[in-house]
């Protein structure tokens, strides 16, 4: 999977600008000849969600798996007379992750993030004290316009068991969905693999795609935080202890039946897992859960250190176990208890 992960994390795709990453995912699907059997479908909806149906053998449920394609980024709000750019956030971007970093615009233009003189170096400056320098001499020669968007620049580092890159949130979820699509040979269920847009700005793609799919049951696959680094916020999730089955997060309570179904599957098949109770943040399943008349929903989360920084770290074993958990769970009839 590492080759796919590298390709996905290094592709451009801030919220609302998912065309490149959507094309990449489609290419992966075509390259491996996935979703080509009778009844299978691949379509893109009005907001840009990529919806892939793997038709089941019958008698099963309509199951939606969601992973978001978009990543956090920045958007240019002003080009000053000297050609420096002021910018705003797309999703949860924080100044302390930005200083000295680099960003890349859709056309390949690279910029460095600089900061005004600081009156007090012990205090973190607000975003309005930062700017992007693309090396322009003045406004007229600046290749960037107000409204252009950029993502972080950071190649994947393969440390063996651990992988570090920008946009692991949530390209790792996309990679898991692609692998499940490859490995899920037989299933009674109609499984909709939905690669969603605009999660980072408010679960917007999941809102519309779940209305369109109208699933009986849904899981999102996204990253979650960990509590295993020095002086970290307390959280009983660690890198390498297996995929995390969500109990709750800041926006949703997982359906207990869905949680139990995943726990039972993991325990019955010797797949390591941990339970996730995340205090802040949420994911696509929150929007799916309240779609139409309501959908039982849960999450398989990939533990991730340094979420929403340009260097997000995951454990490769957690990733492959997440794939195994999902494939095993979806291969059989589902009973929620």
């Amino acid at each position: 999977m590492k080759e796919t992960i590298k390709k996905l994390v290094e592709t451009f795709g801030p919220s609302g600008y998912e065309q490149d990453i959507r094309d990449s995912i489609r290419q992966e699907i075509e390259r491996h000849g996935l979703a080509t059997e009778k009844g299978d479908e691949v379509r893109v909806d009005a907001l840009g969600n990529l919806i892939v149906l793997k038709k089941g053998a019958g008698d099963g449920h309509k199951v939606m798996l969601a992973a978001h394609m978009d990543e956090i980024g920045v958007i240019v709000t002003h080009v000053d007379e000297k050609g420096f750019l002021r910018f705003g956030r797309i999703g949860g971007v924080y100044p302390h992750t930005l200083l000295g970093g680099r960003v890349r615009f859709a056309d390949g233009t690279v910029g460095v993030i600089g900061v005004e003189k600081l009156e007090d170096r012990t205090k973190m400056p607000d975003l309005d004290k930062l700017f992007i320098d693309v090396g322009a001499k003045d406004k007229a020669s600046c290749p960037v316009r107000v409204g252009d968007v950029a993502s972080f620049v950071r190649p994947l580092a393969d440390m063996g068991d651990r992988l570090v890159a920008k946009a692991m949130d949530d390209r790792i979820g996309c990679a898991v969905l692609l692998q499940v699509l490859r490995d899920l040979k037989e299933t009674p269920h109609d499984v909709y693999f939905v690669f969603t847009v605009q999660e980072e700005v408010g679960l917007r793609g999941a809102t519309t795609s779940s209305y369109g799919v109208a699933p009986d049951l849904a899981l999102s696959v996204d990253v979650t935080g960990t509590g295993d680094t020095p002086e970290a916020r307390t959280m009983a999730v660690s890198l390498g202890d297996g995929p995390a089955i969500k109990v709750k997060d800041g926006g949703m309570l997982a359906h207990p039946g869905v949680k139990n179904w995943l726990v039972k599957t993991a325990e019955g098949n010797g797949i390591p897992y941990q339970l996730e109770v995340l205090e802040g943040g949420t994911t696509d399943a929150r929007a799916i859960q309240t779609s139409r008349a309501g959908v039982p929903a849960g999450c398989v989360s990939i533990p991730c250190r340094y979420v929403h920084t340009p260097s997000e770290m995951v454990d490769y074993g957690d990733v492959t176990h997440a794939v195994k958990l999902l494939v095993t769970a979806l291969s059989k009839p589902i009973e929620l208890m």
Binding site: G16, A46, L47, V76, H78, D80, Q198, V201, G212
Partner: protein, 345 residues
Amino acid sequence: MWLKRLSEAGGVSGHEDEVRQIILDIIAGHVDDYRVDSIGNIIALKKGDGSSDLRVMVAAHMDEVGFMISHVEENGLLHFHKVGGLDDRILPAKVVWIGDKKVPGVIGFKPAHLTEQNERDQPIKYKQLTIDIGTTSKAEAEKLVQRGDYATFATEFVELGLAGEGWQTVRGKAFDDRAGCAVLIELLNTQYPFDLYAVFTVQEEVGLRGAQVAAFAVEPDWAFALEGTGANEIPTPKDVSPSTRLGHGPAITVMDRSFIADKRLVRLLIDTAEELGIPYQIKQPGIGGTDAGAIHRTREGVPSVTVAVPCRYIHSPAAILNLDDFDHTVQLVRESLSRLPTIPR
């Protein structure tokens, strides 16, 4: 140009009746069908010429920010709540109209003689303010005003500048979003290739509520939200964004707090503007929110964009807009709508 009538009408979120009636009277002869839905939106249909099967929704909100009377004091002074986003600092000493009869009032304020410097340095919270309608008892006050009545800033619409010379600006309240309503009314003078649903929405200022249900009912293929948006040209020593500028043409939104605009629609607007020589500007991304925020997430999703007339000092008693910007907004949206069937779905 209906802006004067629309601006002076009362229409605080949840009580858009006066504005709605004015709009219904104006558009009745220019649309093929219209109805008022259960929450109070006007949904009007302007039938297309039959050459395109698209359904297009164009929305502008009728409501404005304002006040609701929450409690009448024994001495006849009125406590109030804010409806929509109002900065407490602008409230003291402003004159208001209360209720359908536009009872005149003023938000009371201690004069400079009676305040200390440190008091004057602090903004006053709206909860410490009351509206004075010149009565001296609760019984007397309640003959004019009831708890639950709405109030607006008492602002008459005026034309500014030298008559017939230079750029023409106007001043009034509620340009957010009566400017959008006035643009939408102008657009109904033209027939388009497709069925156009002109939707005058309610309750935008309190959470895009009217647009949410209207979009569900209309089920459009594309949507445009029309706005009066903020321009901040007060001089600063720093070279930073004014958000939008008066006189620089309609402001196109690429992203705000409520949505990310559809790139095809942004492209359509820019291409149309550049081809026809219509001035335009990109609004400072990331701030504010409009009906498009609710519309684009309706059902399976609706590609949407927002186009706005720049206005200084919105959400205050006196906003200023430039009439060239207004005319250019009408022109840009009208021409872009006509070309809409040519862009890829």
